[in-house]
Amino acid sequence: MRLAGGGRIDRSQLYAFTFNGTQYQGYAGDTLAAALIANGVRLVGRSFKLHRPRGIFSAGAEEPSAIVQVEAGASTLPNLRATQVELYDGLSATSVNAWPSLAFDFWSINSLFAPLLPAGFYYKTFMWPQSLWHSYEAVIRRAAGLGRAPEHPDPDIYDHMHLHCDVLVVGGGPAGLAAALKAGRTGARVVLVDEQNESGGQLLGNRQQIDGAPGAEWATSAAEELAALDDVRVLTRTTAFGHYDHNHVALIERRTDHLGPAVSDADGRDGGPRQRVWKVRAKQVVLATGAHERSIVFRNNDRPGVMQASAAACYVNRYAARPGHRAVIFTNNDSAYAAAADLAEGGVSVAAIVDARPEPGLDASALAAGQGIEVITGHAAVDVKGRRHVEAVSIAAVDEAGNAAASASRSINCDLLAVSGGWNPCVHLHCHSGGKLNFDAVQACFVPGESKLAVRAAGAAAGIFDLAGCLESGFEAGADAAQDAGIKRRGRARKAPVADAETPAPARHLFHVPSSKRGGDYKAFVDLQHDVSASDIALAVREGYESVEHLKRYTTLGMATDQGKTSNVPGLAILSEVLGRPIADVGTTTFRPPYTPVTFGALAGRDVGTFADPVRKTPMHHWHETAGAVFEDVGQWKRPWYYPRDGETMQEAVDRECLAARNAIGLLDASTLGKIDIQGPDSVTLLNRVYTNAWNTLAIGRSRYGLMCGEDGMVFDDGVTTRLGDHHYLMTTTSGGAARVMSWLEEWLQTEWPELDVRLTSVTEQWASAGICGPGARRLMEELSEDIALDAEALPFMAMSEGRVAGLPARVFRISFSGEVSFEVNVPSRYGMALWSILMTAGEKYGITPYGTETLHILRAEKGYIIAGQETDGTVTPIDLGMGRMVSKKKDFIGKRSLSRSDTSREDRKQLVGLLTEDETEVLPEGAQIVSEPRPMPPMEMIGHVTSSYHSANVGRSIALALIRSGHSRIGEQVFAPLPGKRVMARIVEPMFFDPEGTRLHG
């Protein structure tokens, strides 16, 4: 049903497309919805709950019914509005909610049970018995599903853009163009955003005139002028989907969706992103977002062929596509008369205009008379005949209260019922940013009220519906916005464009025509996408859900993907009707972002795959890779986990590494350890305040282990700090906690102790560090050191010396996390790889063995050394860890006072202990709960949990560390770990499994 001429389509470009597998043709400039209408396709989807047949309802973003999935495979997009999908050659789309096919929809059986599926039916029907909810849920989800997410990785790329501007204008209709022109002419930095492929808004879809020419022509010339202005950026196919604090506006730009999925690199694309998210910070925002036409709620108002009057006209005017042969218009206001005239001009036979008012406005009357259309006043549509599409409409007289006469006065055959229930200003963005809404009782709509942001509405978004008013308010908003943005210059005055003055008669407040038929209101739909009917609202109120917020959640009104753009106000009107309170008092729910759905791909932007998180590698990383190391993530660091040799299992490799570290030489890449260089006369004061132990007596060249607590007394990091000079220290932190500790120290220095003269520098990445441990460590070091005395007297445990190792400038620390004699050699990062290679070569004869983090963990657990973050979880004090001797009694430090709070001084806190399983081969899972009195079934009283657990090759059995309630006084007691299918018996022991005297460490 394509018209012979007219429309903004390019008839020279014929596109083939498929819908639900059937081939059709359309033109460049069509939307999918327009092309379907031109092909006479009426049934396009099924409703969400009842699976009733649905057709195309609108011509824009507000579409509740024509929801489609475009393309298949990795590029597919679900839940798109057919009214916004631009046609391209080869497009393939399917309905989202029909199984097995649209024509035969299995779940349409639901509609027979409609009276059994009222509001809140989930809660009432399926929750009992509770144990079966998950099986109901699977079926319900399938029955009520929307589109399907793609199952393969997204082949496209997406970008994030950042922009600052003086004036952001949202909406490229007459008001938005006027605002952008006015602001742009002052030289302000202006951004105009429009969701459509070309500027013009409603002017593209109606026949209104500006300066005696079609409005769309004015829009084109306005867009051209804007494009020529230096500081104006026009973004088409771009939706402002969220308006946030401080005028931060998020936009989604669809760059290539209208071209279809990429076929090859050479298909005319620029290789750029598919979509972009723009994050705009605007000094001033003008919302020229237009308005959405409402429907009226009456029986069977959801049948395919029932459409917004403005949409029906838009299809004729813009797409030269006739949405029907014979139309009836049902309206409560004057705007539908122009639509009726447009339909008639487009060759649609308009059978009648049914107007709920006693009489239309003068202009409206003239329009109808001009086309010879019968106007039936004081009447309303009460029912629609036809299942798959409209066949006839029954009308009846309505009284002053809005009730229709019991029997229909007439039935009019038609295949298109164009409805206008008035207009809703598109206030979504205004609400996103916390703006208030006022109810305009004359026009029966919510208009933007007070906002906390620098934002103003113009045109239909402000409740100004006539074209002349839209232009005027647009120019005014643009001028004011530029001025408020601080632009002093005013644009050269020009002749304002002139549109015909309109003098509409007031609309009638008619939202709902109650049905006199039994069960009629079950089929009178408010929310087409979520199948919320007038009776659902009445039921919700009867059941006590009187607040609009409760109503929304109980009935799901306005919670579908269209967010109730067309259903919200009729829903509120019916609620106010049932409650007998004015709409303004009933209030409205809050619109939240996004305005229309946004793809996850666009939101993620480039932060996917290898760009999702930074990767940090040590200077020796390449060596580890070459050696076949398996890596573990520690914070953002890649650390060797273990180094398997050919055919080795992880356990075999780790056992070999553990034995070598205690019997030959182990070599660890310790470069990831956090390192903070601390300088200044007050450095020692800082250390005294942040560590639990005292630092006054630490000599130059000596190291000390420290525990750091939060002010709550809980351990949050630990490490060794070495005094390098009079006022110079090097602090080490855990690998994952380095940044946190740095921020922690900076915070205290800046906010609480500004009087301390201390400077902090992160030097983690400036130093590469190799840990050499084991009985052969000293021999190897002596071979390589030129000027450093390494004997136990000259360089005892916890001492540091500077000199050269293997010809490289180095700091050598006698510190140990293994309990062995250990040298930690720090060299400037650029020498890290050289140091490592020399150590490996020179150490070969001593059986040097590189080991990874798993062996590191086992060696330290054998000695009962904690790992902050593994043995601690933010609820563990130094005393809980058995490290009370490290808590100074003489000085204050962060967290000290908290250690004597009633809770932290309890005797029965969880305390660190060792666990030995009865079966030496049994390795408890970390995190396993510990009980003292096992029972066959939960509940059992849990007294603690396993924090670390390994097989130890050096001890020759499994070992574990655990936090157990009153653990320190339970040494020797038997406990149990109830595990799936078994119960493991274990004994509480001191957390020390190897060389308890520490003779190896000091050797």
């Binding site: 604090d245 910070r281 916390g434 002010e711 900076e746 906010t751 006072r897």
Partner: protein, 112 residues
Amino acid sequence: MLLIPCPWCGPRDEIEFGCGGEAHIARPENPDELSDEAWADYLFNRANPKGPFAERWVHSHGCRRWFNVVRDTATNEILAVYEMGAPRPEIGSPPVLASPDESGTTSDGESL
């Protein structure tokens, strides 16, 4: 996303900052002398007003400096920005809280 005027770097997106909670909570000089209640008040209790609220922010991904901000919690409007250690400026409606000073006064004016 807020636009926060860093006193050293100028206005920057909130994503560059960290929020450190209520400002002017001075660490007590002699914690050992405090009752459990007084210590708990310092440790845990914070004001949660609707309206102007003084809080600490740090430009973590910028100059890494801490500073104070008075933000209206109802509108997110930033009413003042000032350096650490400076007294809270007088803004609009008087704050619910007594203005604390550096001698260790808690938010509700009770002396520590």
